[in-house]
Symmetry: C2
Subunit: 729 residues, 2 copies
């Protein structure tokens, strides 16, 4: 109760605004009311919401003293409560039935009684503890929804009730977040976005200009929402923590923007920075698989898709403020529900008009820079095919991605026909599952999933990039060397990482090629390491599927198994089998879904190959038992030339199998040095030549060299020939 009295006089008050305003204005709600029965998706959402809230009418809603971590009773109760407050407030406005308002009022009054007495949550473990929940992030969620709920019933409250709720329910929480957790509140990070949105929405709901100011500009005037808009996204909308976290951040970004758009229209927040919120939504959606799941960049739970509340909210508001859009409609059709908002009504109307015959979301090749200026590395997402036949290659050379970043510079992953083919482990976390450490990130998230060896990129000397130090990784973003993705048949991206290790530089070029007559793209992957000293280089292919065959014999550890190493993620990998190969091409064929995939790699003078499986040193069974195929080379500078093919099909129901063998017959390096790499790949008797410059990348530069005794000439950073004819040179 201390804070309540001490800070009472410090409040400055906004000009008393017309309420509701934060989620929707009175006019919006009136318009929405008239549409409720007109469009099936809107009607369904209204019915669902009403059913959910009606179940509580005439009942006491428990507002328990906080005790449990995520998944536990008090956690889940408070989560449901804040949703109930928003929905109750909406129904009050849409039906005029005072019982909804009283339900919300009574809950808020209970929070007004509870919150002032709260201390740090008993299950808090992080540096940003919550009070109602175990972490402050959830308290910020609460502020967002409780603030919206309050705003919706504010007009029917007595002045005394308003004061009680503002002072008892909100102020202790806002004070805690902005003062006790001031540095956390000012973070440029998804937590910070939630915190600012929560404080800002409560500020708008309670006419508190101070709150709104802190939300927009931080307590220090140099952070807050506006800086988050400017710094968390690149100019083209890439969110630095990756697509999994933009999903989460879009909700507070959009809900607060929606509130500001009503309460502070002069800010023109949706136009800010060239419509950055629209770009952020588009970039987030492009970074999903055809099944709607967000690509698992950095810490990411793979089940999350664009049917989440967060994306329904963002899509509906975007529709409202940025106008109709076929691409968004495709997403909305898959979401199958809308928000009780004018945007939701607009989407529902369009869905009804389209009668469900929506086009697929227009996935395309995209490249995004990272960082506020787009110059801190970035990602390339190369695509081929359409609809369910889409192939997506993700190449990551971005900056670290803040506290949820993984040490996977120059990592790739591949999706095809809806399936993950070359995988990224994602996060080790069972969100919301109390038994799994209260649903928090599990220890193996840092010790395995974030480590380099859990990704499809090179680990040097069994040590992760930047020795696994976040601060060092943050300071040094990856760098694109060049890319050329204009021609869908020849999509090429080169990037480098020169700081991840003291004396090793890493260069990777991915060639995503649609060869004449081929039905699927071919990936040619040139990964070079450059060093003056001898090192061990491990390049894994984390394949998601069933091993079908290899081109070589190997030793299998059949009766006893040991780990691949002792630290930096290696301790989690069982060695299932291994082989040492010299001067040959190593080929692995596996089956994912109903398609075969082959990885063919030039061993060079010697390569040690490991077949591993995650699950060692996992006493709590937190890891999935996923396989990896790791190519190890030792030396100073080394070249990994790999070809990844998508081929054939397998139909266990119809019992047909076709084209089950790799077409790659031979790989050789015609030249490899600091100036040039020239690789020759023989595919079904036909020759594919890939030549690249390793030093001079000028687009207009003419290269004229000799390789394999023949002259080779091309312009720009690379040249490609197939059956003797230039595909590009």
């Amino acid at each position: 109760m201390r804070m309540l009295t001490v800070y009472l006089l410090c409040l400055s008050v906004l000009a008393h605004a017309q309420h509701p305003v934060a989620f929707a204005t009175k006019a919006d709600l009136l318009q929405l009311k008239g549409q409720l029965n007109r469009y099936p998706a809107l009607t369904a959402s209204y019915t669902d919401t009403k059913k959910m809230v009606d179940a509580w009418l005439g009942k006491e809603v428990d507002v328990p003293f906080p005790k449990d971590p995520a998944g536990g009773y008090t956690h889940e109760r408070h989560k449901e409560n804040y949703i109930l407050m928003l929905n109750g407030g909406l129904l009050y406005n849409l039906t005029g039935d005072r019982r909804y308002a009283l339900l919300v009022r009574d809950m808020l009054l209970k929070y007004a009684a509870l919150n002032p007495g709260l201390g740090k949550h008993p299950q808090a473990t992080s540096s940003s503890p919550g009070r109602i929940f175990w972490q402050a992030l959830n308290d910020a969620n609460w502020l967002v929804y409780a603030g919206l709920g309050y705003d919706l019933i504010q007009p029917m409250l007595t002045p005394a009730e308003r004061k009680t709720i503002e002072q008892g329910a909100f102020k202790p929480e806002v004070d805690f977040i902005t003062k006790d957790l001031e540095s956390w509140f000012n973070l440029i990070h998804n937590h910070g976005v939630w915190a600012c949105a929560g404080v800002g929405i409560v500020g708008i709901a309670t006419d508190n200009a101070d709150y709104v100011r802190m939300a927009l500009h931080g307590t220090d005037g140099k952070s807050g929402y506006m800086v988050q808009l400017d710094e968390l996204f690149s100019p083209d909308g890439y969110y630095t923590e990756g697509p999994y976290y933009v999903r989460y951040a879009l909700l507070p970004f959009y809900l607060f923007a929606n509130a500001l758009n009503n309460a502070r229209p002069e800010l023109k927040i949706f136009e800010h920075r060239g419509r950055i919120l629209r770009k952020a939504l588009d970039a987030g959606l492009q970074q999903t698989n055809t099944d709607g799941r967000f690509f698992p960049v950095n810490d990411a739970i793979k089940e999350k898709d664009y049917t989440t509340n967060e994306l329904v909210t963002a899509v509906n508001i975007a529709w409202d403020v940025y106008g109709k859009d076929e691409a968004l409609l495709a997403i909305a059709a898959r979401q199958g529900r809308v928000m009780l908002h004018t945007g939701g009504a607009g989407v529902a109307a369009a869905l009804a008009a389209g009668k469900g015959a929506m086009a697929a979301y227009p996935y395309k090749t995209v490249e995004y820079g990272d960082g506020p200026k787009g110059n801190q590395g970035g990602i390339s997402l190369l695509r081929s095919g359409t609809g369910s036949n889409l192939t997506s290659l993700f190449f990551k050379y971005a900056s670290h991605g803040l506290s949820h970043g993984h040490y996977d510079r120059l990592g790739i992953f591949l999706y095809d026909q809806g399936n993950e083919v070359l995988a990224d482990y994602g996060a080790v976390r069972f969100i919301g599952v109390e038994q799994k450490w209260g649903g928090r990130y599990l220890p193996e998230n840092k010790t395995y999933a974030a480590q380099t060896i859990a990704h499809n990129t090179i680990t040097v000397d069994e040590t992760s990039h930047f020795k696994g130090k976040e601060a060092d990784a943050e300071k040094n973003p990856g760098q694109k060397i060049f890319s050329d993705v204009k021609d869908p048949r020849i999509q090429v991206v080169a990037a480098k990482e020169e700081k991840a290790y003291d004396d090793v530089r890493l260069y990777r070029t991915v060639y995503f090629l649609q060869l004449p007559g081929a039905s699927k793209p071919l990936l040619v992957d040139l990964f070079r390491t450059v060093s003056d000293n001898v090192h061990q280089y491990d390049l894994p292919f984390q394949y998601n599927g069933q091993l079908i065959s290899t081109s070589f014999a190997y030793q299998s550890h059949t009766a006893q198994q040991q780990t691949l190493g002792k630290r930096n993620g290696y301790q989690f990998l069982w060695k299932e089998a291994e082989a040492i190969l010299k001067d040959t091409m190593a080929q692995l064929t596996f089956l994912t879904g109903k398609t075969y995939y082959s990885v063919s790699t030039l061993t060079g003078d010697s390569a040690h190959i490991f077949f591993t499986r995650a699950g060692a040193n996992d006493p709590n069974f937190n890891l999935r038992r996923v396989p990896s195929y790791i190519i190890r080379k030792r030396g100073t500078s080394k070249q990994f030339v790999s070809v990844v093919e998508i081929h054939g099909n397998y139909d266990p129901v119809g019992e047909f199998s076709g084209n089950a063998y790799s077409s790659v017959q031979d790989i050789s390096l015609l030249r490899e040095d600091g100036d040039y790499t020239i690789a020759r790949i023989r595919i079904k008797g036909k020759e594919l030549i890939v030549a690249q410059a390793n030093k001079e990348y000028g687009a207009a530069l003419r290269h004229s060299i000799s390789a394999g005794g023949k002259p080779v000439e091309w312009t720009g950073p690379f040249g490609i020939w197939y059956e003797g004819k230039p595909l590009k040179n």
Copy 2:
């Protein structure tokens, strides 16, 4: 060419019948022709078929000399060829376009040239080698389809062409199968069904009464199709090899019956044995999961579902001969295609009339005896819930199931909400994948998947039932003790296996209970072993999911792993962790899909628990890395009391988790001896008592005993009390 001339004079000839007749009569085809454009599903099938065949018009179809195993070119070519012959023949009749007939004729003439010179296929490995294919079974497939195709174009052939084809294409194959492979031809087994159907259909197509006679009654007059109808099914339609193989056998059963129905209507084949073919179809369909997949009893590839050609054929013909049926229509709707047959037209018309609004297939609790008289043990399939919320418990105490049988007497498996929860490994086979031993059953199928430890039943002394000897297992079917499944809330089945081991008898009773107020059924599993000597008993729960928590501490093998044993399947299991527990209840909670499941087991005086994972001694990566939770007890007679709960839900998208903990607080045995077992289970503070008689099972018998100091009285083999009130007594 030898056989061609030697046996030429031995042919007896049927009265020259009107052709076509084998697949359909001229009248049928005329009727079908008029319906082709009327019903979308039929139109689509017609269009697809026409597209497939039209691609070959004017082209030479290769009829290569046999060389490759399954998955290889010649195998796949011949497979496509026989389908092409049937489809070409159909299109000829449906369009009147002679080009289709000529296509089929030319292929048959090529086979007439090829077949006489064939010997054993170069890739043949089995005791029943093929000639066109690596195994005779595929040659039998060829006879079925080629026979149907021939019959459809027979009227347009010249007598010389007929003779060439009958003598060249068919006779060498029929002779090979009925003479060289005579004992195989006479087998009462799915191979035998195919063989008889092939020879019989060719007999009908070529008016060869000898062929038809051999097909119906075997070469010995004591086997063949009629005996197969009588002996492979129980009186209620259970197919002794299990549902995976009935799927395969239904095709020749139905196609030959369809041909006989046209050519030999006096046999009334579809009425035979109380409509056994109809019962067989229904029993096969009941033994599928809600996603249409056949339950993996015995050797079974889990992907196989009722959308296969085999089931489309059976469902369409059944519709034709047995009449309209809502249940079949539900299946047809999921199949999404029909056969070009009057049955297919009937189904398509019904689908069009129903506009896709079909009810779900009516899954229900079923029990089937095994064996021709239904007295060789059987299976019970207990069900609860409807639609996507169905729960299915499969309890197997059948006979061995011929050469594809597994050593899993008294085994169970559990499906819930479409997911496999307690799993049966199925078969180790990548059907059609040439690299995986030509698509054959892999060695691990016998050495692991068929062994007892791969199932959810007890292995004694690390030795499989019947020491893994098929002949012994065949001689001794399992036995049902009693069952009571009339009340959907209390479904109880008891069965025994007294011959699998020399001096150990096994008794298992499963109680599938719908407790008052519970949303999902509860499984109480009482598994007793009886012996005078000390043995080791292992009871696995092959859970398909992610381990969430255990009620006990265990030792994890974190840095080095060894196998659970050395033989009988144990050599394939890595020991991931283990624990020794005394006088307690061991509880495992895992997550499958979005639901939690808990297995609670009374340890008794001592139990050794193992967490294992398949994949040891698997140098070719043939096994899936599936986990198992194994409870080991040692002693003379032992009792395993386990409770399997379905509880809670997990939504990683919405981030909700509820009811994630087991409700079972305690299990105790109030009495356990040769006369009675009385178990007490405390669930959320409520008491569930299960009492069963172990010696006298009379339904009217009154038991009046004392347990835990209190009198317990009930009538019949078991009594159940919940919260002190009788659920059944």
